[in-house]
């Protein structure tokens, strides 16, 4: 187990190096000159002399390979440079905004689990019943509605018309309700259906038949045996989505004025704040890798049949 985790962690290194390479290449092929972007963000008229000075300062006059290694070395020290716009260290700005984003992601995942697990399970057990039809409808709705639009609709009904909840901002638990609902609806849509399909598949398995013939109570079979195995793909999906939520709450953060990391990134794009963009892309890559690893470990723990060897060979 320990050596497996160790191997997986070591495998992160080449992936991160590759991610750095990709962002590095993207920045260099983009038509935006970092020196020019810096000066325009700082409201300084770019003369040739100033541009040359800035290019030197950023190391842009060095050979590409040297620049790449310098970037890697800096990132190893968690030095992502300073934001062109605020002149503050990027890492500090990102970590200051992370709690808000993590809070939103965690609450969305939890809410999605609380709704989709019972709903998916019940719609499989009571196939073609009212509850199954309801979950089907909810899933169609959740999977097809664009998030920003859902956000606006929720604000319109729950805040403007009914006056139950605040429109925007972060503060009390009430502020968390609408963004959480917006983010989790799409997840609920997917996981309800996923769990339903998975439970139905398990019900066809022979162990269920044997359990029934042994006279084990239906409730016990369902909860202790079927659900326990059927839930595995849902866990994988939720885990992967956690990484996505941490990096992909951009639209929802924008709509609900949530002061998180995604909003900071949007502003960075508008201002061509290259150090911030670079940090975001790398962080996104790392978060995905880490979430993937955690999911694998959880699955391993939930279902020891998944052999360690098989996993590492993949």
């Amino acid at each position: 187990m320990v050596s497996y985790i160790g191997k997986r962690i070591l495998a992160i290194i080449p992936i991160v190096l590759f991610a750095i390479l990709i962002t590095f290449v993207l920045i260099h092929i983009s038509p935006v000159d970092p020196a020019e972007a810096y000066l325009s963000a700082a409201h300084i008229h770019p003369t040739e002399e100033l541009l040359a000075e800035k290019r030197h300062e950023f190391g842009l006059d060095q050979p590409l390979i040297v620049q790449y290694f310098q970037t890697v070395m800096k990132i190893c020290r968690l030095d992502f440079g300073r934001s062109y716009l605020t002149n503050e260290p990027v890492w500090g700005e990102v970590t200051a905004r992370m709690p808000a984003t993590i809070q939103l992601a965690v609450s969305s995942i939890l809410f999605a689990m609380i709704v989709s697990i019972p709903l998916g399970f019940l719609s499989a057990v009571y196939k073609n019943s009212l509850i199954d039809n309801f979950s089907r409808l909810l899933s169609f709705f959740g999977a097809s509605i664009p998030q920003f639009w859902l956000g606006y609709l929720l604000i319109f009904f729950f805040s403007v018309k009914l006056d139950w909840l605040p429109v925007e901002g972060r503060g009390s638990w009430e502020h968390l309700v609408l963004p959480t609902m917006t983010l989790s609806l799409a997840l609920i849509a997917i996981y309800t259906r996923l769990l339903r399909a998975s439970v139905l598949e398990q019900l066809q398995e022979s162990y269920v038949l044997y359990a029934r013939t042994r006279g084990i109570k239906e409730k016990v079979i369902m909860v202790k045996h079927v659900l326990k195995i059927a839930i595995s793909p849902v866990i994988t999906g939720l885990g992967m989505n956690f990484g996505k939520l941490l990096t992909g709450t951009i639209i929802v953060e924008q709509v609900f004025s949530w002061p998180g990391f995604g909003r900071y990134f949007v502003e960075a794009i508008f201002n061509r704040d290259i150090p911030v963009i670079q940090c975001y892309v790398l962080l996104a890559a790392c978060l995905f890798i880490v979430c993937n690893l955690i999911v694998d470990l959880v699955q391993l723990y939930m279902d020891p049949r998944i052999s360690l060897k098989g996993r590492t060979d993949q």
Partner: protein
């Protein structure tokens, strides 16, 4: 591998941990409520939205500090009022030497910073020195380039000497940044404010009382304010980046006011206006949206082609259709509400026949069976570059492409990243481009400056005019002139020439919008484009 009880316990612990992180996040924030509820009953509070965080409130630097917020805390020596009139502010009076180089300011008595320390010539000089530590940062500003030295004459008298006469020095001092005054306690130890400051301390009517980055900023009255105290107790600025969310927060009553350029979409503005439940207003023009026709392209070097293009599109219909009435068709390059710009010009009307006649006369003939005019085998093909994230520019570019197509001009439109668009403009690498003037209090002097000065794209666009040298000379004379009458005459001549030459084609006047609840009273747009609008505002509960 694990016992089943152990598994269950571990899972429970994990879920509890996750839950508590979420809840902790919430409860912690509850204590940080932005105070608007506390204030609601007795105090007069105005809550408005702003798309970006107000920033570090440094009077001597630019982004990300927001201009309106800087102007609430810091004040200028002279203030820019309607029609470009300059009024005494922190300087009670001033005198300018005959050669136009020495400016002596008599400072207002009994002015205090918000921390109670006195405002005097020494602190004025200290602020000038801090700005001058980084002249490159401010090289876009005329007065900084012209500044030779500053001195403290006595406690209340400050003198500024220029290297050469530069008449708009006072207009430049009226700007929101970089020449406004920070109190002694706000300065960092080395006096270099470009790297940051200790505290935002100014002489203005407001002080920053509460601030949470990316969430809100609360301004309360400055207890030591020298002038008439504001009628409201508090201004709460909520940071709402999304325009539609802003509108919904306003409709719900969470906001009293939405103000700014582009703060609200054209559709929402009209919708709120039609509802009749709120007050909606448009300001006088703050700037002109124009097209820049580059004469270094030999096709556009011909005045007849430039005139044909101007006659060849229905400006009125385009502006009304695209901006839904939020902008107004422009005939003057600079709107009439700036100093020296109040002149009548001949309208270039929409007339396709005239456009065709101009092109025929210029030798651009339409070969039979073709749709694009040609001359010496060359097609009349031009490229218009625009900012691809700006929906108005895009829609206008498409309209002109269609309209000019009908007179045999092939217009290729290219959407660019803003930085690339600016880069190409500055290098003069374009045929046509969108361009905006700077507005009050920058114009008209900043405008004529870029017509003469290379490096901004405007001078480059005019480079093949036969009278360019003469024009540059006139501009130089205007900026250095100390004689008001002569300056007026020079401005008139310069602006007429530019208008006649049609290198800059005015399209529409840009206006600021405001929407507010009916209990907000006495709102007025500031004459200075960048200032805050809270001078006389009040609210009834």
């Amino acid at each position: 591998m694990f016992g089943s009880t152990k598994k269950a316990v571990l899972l429970m612990v994990a879920v509890i941990l996750l839950l508590s992180t979420t809840l902790l996040g919430c409860t912690k924030k509850e204590t940080e409520s932005n105070g608007e509820n506390k204030a609601a009953s007795a105090e007069k509070v105005i809550t408005l939205s702003w798309p970006r965080d107000v920033g570090p409130m440094n009077p001597h630097t630019y982004n990300p500090s927001q201009l309106f917020a800087q102007s609430m805390i810091y004040e200028p020596l002279v203030s820019y009022k309607e029609g470009g009139k300059l009024e005494p502010y922190l300087a009670e009076s001033w005198s300018i030497s005959k050669d136009g180089k020495e400016y002596t300011f008599k400072l207002r008595q009994n002015v205090k910073f918000s921390d109670g320390t006195p405002f005097n010539a020494a602190i004025v000089k200290k602020n000038f020195d801090a700005v001058m530590k980084n002249p490159k940062l401010h090289s876009w500003l005329g007065v900084i380039n012209a500044l030779d030295k500053t001195e403290v004459v006595d406690e209340q008298t400050f003198k500024m000497t220029l290297k050469e006469p530069y008449y708009p020095a006072l207009q430049d001092l009226a700007l929101v940044r970089p020449v406004r005054f920070l109190g002694e306690a706000g300065f960092p130890d080395d006096g270099d404010t470009s790297k940051g400051l200790k505290k935002p301390i100014g002489t203005g009517p407001w002080v920053l009382a509460e601030y949470k980055k990316d969430e809100y900023a609360v301004f309360t009255r400055n207890p030591n304010y020298w002038g008439e105290s504001p009628k409201i107790d508090k201004v709460t600025v909520k940071i709402i980046p999304d325009a539609e969310t802003r509108v919904m927060a306003f409709e719900k009553g969470e906001l009293d006011l939405i103000y700014g350029e582009g703060a609200i979409s054209m559709d929402s503005f009209n919708q709120l206006k039609e509802s009749g439940k709120y007050v909606t207003e448009l300001s006088d023009p703050v700037g002109t949206r124009s097209l820049l026709l580059n004469t270094s392209n030999e096709k556009l070097a011909d005045l007849r082609v430039r005139m044909a293009l101007q006659h060849g599109f229905n400006k009125q219909a385009m502006v009304e259709g695209i901006t839904l009435g939020l902008e107004e068709k422009a005939d003057n390059i600079l709107s009439k509400n700036f100093p020296y710009t109040n002149m009548d010009v001949q309208q270039v009307e929409y007339n396709v026949e005239k456009a065709n006649a101009y092109l025929d006369e210029a030798g651009w003939k339409l070969p039979a069976g073709k749709t694009v005019r040609e001359k010496d085998g060359q097609p009349l093909e031009l490229e218009l570059i625009y900012d691809k994230t700006d929906p108005i520019q895009k829609a206008m570019a498409e309209t002109m492409q269609a309209e000019w197509g009908a007179i045999g001009v092939k217009l290729n439109i290219t959407g660019l990243e803003l930085t690339v668009q600016i880069k190409r403009r500055k290098a003069g690498e374009f045929d046509l481009d969108f361009w905006y003037n700077y507005g009050a209090p920058y114009d008209p002097h900043s405008f004529i400056n870029v017509v003469a000065e290379k490096g901004w794209g405007v001078s480059e666009a005019h480079s093949h005019l036969s009278m360019k040298q003469e024009l540059d000379q006139q501009i130089k004379e205007t900026l250095a002139s100390t004689d008001e009458a002569k300056r007026e005459q020079l401005y008139n001549s310069i602006l007429r020439t530019l208008q006649d030459q049609s290198v800059i084609v005015p399209v529409s006047y840009i206006k600021k919008t405001v929407v507010y609840q009916k209990n907000v009273k006495d709102f007025s747009f500031p004459a200075n484009r960048d200032e805050h609008p809270f001078y006389g505002i009040s609210i009834s509960k």
